[in-house]
């Protein structure tokens, strides 16, 4: 039982990290950024390239090196996210919602197959991997590396929440989410804030990409597709546009998958997890901690 919970929480923290970017972008400009999962892929490849450039690293230095790579990668994917917004989304911000959605799908394919052209179709394997010994805690087997990764994810999420709720920047984001026109009348530089939102969301996805590369080892150009879908689901379960809700949604989806596999077997896992999603949408369309609708009106 504890093993199932731990498995779910571990996978769920990846979902949550990726889902946050989805949720933030949706919260602010009501765009479902389908290319978000591919920024996760981009992060994994950026980390791979940086590690390759650094060269051989002794295993005792693995963790500090990976953390440094994580920071650099977050900057790289963050900038990529900003560029994506500038090139693909900003010119269409006043266009019908459908055009934006289609552009997002196009951007996703462009990133996937652009990476395939650049790095090849063969999966790559991280030169530096977090393996480590496993320990038993309350009947669950977990490794130090897993604890570190969950720790990093939690720190990033807490940092994000502080940024959004406690800083000027965060207040500007929330203001734009409520009403972009009025915000700009109040002297908020809407474009700059949206760019920064993309930067933060993409940086988090990039961080998740590096962490996945370092822990699982295998990366390939299509790795972002499925997790993008899962992250979207997590965001909807938790309440898209709501940051604590999205984090919760990621963890809940991870747990649903873990228990779904246990109760019904592997082939029914997705049926179970997505069945719950449908249930959520019918019973509670705003998600677990859905945004307060009254504020919108």
């Amino acid at each position: 039982m504890t093993q199932l919970i731990w498995n779910g929480l571990f996978v769920g923290s990846f979902y949550a990290l990726v889902a946050l970017g989805y949720s933030m972008v949706y919260g602010i400009i009501k765009l479902l950024n389908f290319a978000h999962g591919d920024l996760y892929m981009l992060g994994a490849f950026a980390g791979f390239a940086i590690l390759g450039a650094v060269g051989g690293v002794s295993s005792s230095m693995a963790l500090p090196v990976l953390l440094a790579v994580l920071v650099v990668t977050m900057a790289v994917t963050g900038l990529a996210g900003v560029a994506l917004e500038r090139i693909a989304y900003r010119p269409l911000r006043r266009a019908p919602r459908l055009s934006l959605l289609i552009t997002a799908v196009g951007a996703s394919f462009a990133l996937e197959y652009g990476m395939r052209a650049a790095a090849g179709a063969d999966p790559r394997v991280y030169p530096l991997r977090l393996g480590g010994t496993s320990l038993e805690v309350a009947g669950a087997r977990l490794t130090l590396a897993q604890l570190v990764l969950v720790g990093v994810a939690v720190v990033l999420m807490i940092g994000l929440n502080l940024l959004v709720t406690r800083t000027r920047e965060g207040r500007a984001m929330r203001a734009i989410a409520l009403d972009p026109t009025t915000s700009s009348l109040m002297g908020i530089d809407v474009n700059a804030v949206i760019s920064r939102t993309f930067f933060i969301g993409s940086a988090l996805a990039g961080a998740a990409g590096v962490m996945a590369g370092a822990y699982y080892g295998k990366i390939d150009f299509l790795m972002g597709f499925l997790i993008g879908l899962k992250a979207f689901t997590a965001a909807v379960i938790g309440g898209i546009g709501n940051i604590p809700g999205t984090m919760l949604g990621g963890l809940v989806l991870g747990l649903l998958e873990s228990f779904g596999t246990f109760w019904l077997g592997g082939e029914w896992r997705d049926v179970f997890a997505f069945g719950v999603l449908i249930l959520f949408l019918t019973v509670r369309p705003t998600g677990l901690l859905g945004e307060r609708v009254t504020e919108r009106v």
Binding site: F14, F225, F262
Partner: protein, 389 residues
């Protein structure tokens, strides 16, 4: 449709080829009848995944096929005619495969030598069949392909039934008691798992602990592995592809599993070892048809391949190479590219030397000897463990 720049270049090139082909046809028309055809190349068509999830496999197969074409052409071709290879992308996906097959048919392919993903190969059977084009399928080997009982379809890879038999034989030989079967829910992988289960169900020998299906293309299989380990198996058999296979082997070991791990032929690749990491991959068994590595006298072939393409041959390079050689042999024996005659020539072949041994087709058009053997990862290299003779 995911149109990539690459495929659009390829289709442009194809159009160009088609245009020149027509030109020759018109000019040749004046000479009348068959004589014109004798100058035209014999066109071999190859459907392989060049995009999508299995895109990594495509070059292994098309390179090897091109190698065979070049070798045969260097020796003067077949019946005085040159061979020409045309490839199309099936993206490991039924719809793209059907489109690709139609494209090859319009390009005037004489023999099909492609087919990797069983699910994508299945819908192409009637398309080539209607055009009276014989198919030599190098890799796809789901029993579903055989069950269609089509006259123009020949499989030169061992079938799922033969692979399951080899797997069961090795599990028994290893004294396994309780076997966990893991597959990825694709036609090919599930087929082998279910056939292995049927064999294990027979009295005596090992028993099936459970069948676990995973979702391909994910990174975390811990939930599936927790399920598997709850049944305490002493043998795990993964029948899917290497990307997941590497992760599953690694995650099984991380979860403290100490028993044997075996993978199916779709997982036999150096990448498996790389993804699993050398420690987790060590001692992993595999059911596999003959590969260049496990066959004596193939060193020269590997050298030639490396020299030409700058990379090592990979999974199904040898089968693709053999498919082209077999097609050339059959066309030569048939005295032309007439579909019915080539099919008859293929059926009559006896003892043609391939990597998998001397070839003779069964009445079902499969290999009479599947040639499955057991490989093992030793010091990070995949080597022969037992030829199950």
């Amino acid at each position: 449709m995911r149109a990539t720049p690459l495929t659009s270049i390829a289709s442009l090139a194809a159009v160009a080829l088609l245009a020149t082909g027509c030109g020759q046809g018109l000019l040749g028309g004046g000479d009348g009848g068959d004589t014109a055809k004798t100058n035209e190349p014999i066109v071999l068509g190859m459907l392989i995944p060049q995009s999508g999830s299995e895109a990594a496999i495509g070059p292994y197969m098309s390179n090897a096929a091109q190698l065979a074409v070049d070798e045969i052409n260097a020796k003067g071709g077949v019946l005085g005619r040159k061979l020409e290879l045309k490839t199309a992308d099936d993206a490991c996906d039924a719809q793209s495969a059907a489109a690709g097959a139609n494209k090859l048919v319009t390009e005037g392919v004489d023999v099909s030598v492609g087919g990797y993903c069983s699910g994508a190969t299945l819908p192409t059977l009637p398309i080539f069949g209607k055009a009276n084009i014989p198919m030599i399928i190098p890799a796809a080997n789901s029993q579903e392909l055989v069950d269609q009982k089509l006259k123009h379809v020949f499989l030169i890879n061992g079938t799922g039934t033969q692979q399951a038999a080899a797997a069961e034989k090795w599990m028994t030989k290893q004294g396994a008691k309780s076997v966990a079967l893991m597959h990825d829910n694709t036609s090919y992988s599930k087929d082998i798992a279910l056939r292995t289960q049927t064999l294990l169900d027979a009295p005596g020998g090992p028993d099936t602990a459970l069948i676990e299906a995973v979702t391909p293309k994910e990174s975390d299989y811990s939930a599936n592995i927790t399920n598997v380990l709850a049944k305490k198996p002493d043998f795990v058999y993964w029948t899917g592809y290497f990307q997941e296979g590497g992760l599953i082997a690694r995650q099984l070991r991380q979860a403290g599993y100490k028993g044997s791990i075996m993978v199916g032929d779709g997982s036999v690749s150096p990448k498996l070892v790389e993804i699993a990491g050398p420690e987790a991959a060590e001692g992993v068994y595999a059911t596999m048809t003959q590969t260049p590595d496990t066959l004596e006298g193939a060193e020269g072939w590997i050298e030639a391949y490396k020299k030409k393409f700058g990379t090592e041959p990979g999974p199904y390079s040898n089968q693709a190479y053999d498919a082209v050689r077999l097609a050339a042999e059959a066309v030569g024996k048939a005295g032309g590219t007439d579909g019915a005659k080539v099919i008859a020539a293929l059926e009559a072949i006896d003892g043609f030397q391939m990597f998998s041994g001397p070839l003779k087709f069964t009445p079902e058009h499969t290999l009479s000897n599947g040639g499955f053997q057991i490989l093992i990862v030793k010091d990070g290299k995949i080597t022969l463990q037992d030829s199950l003779k």
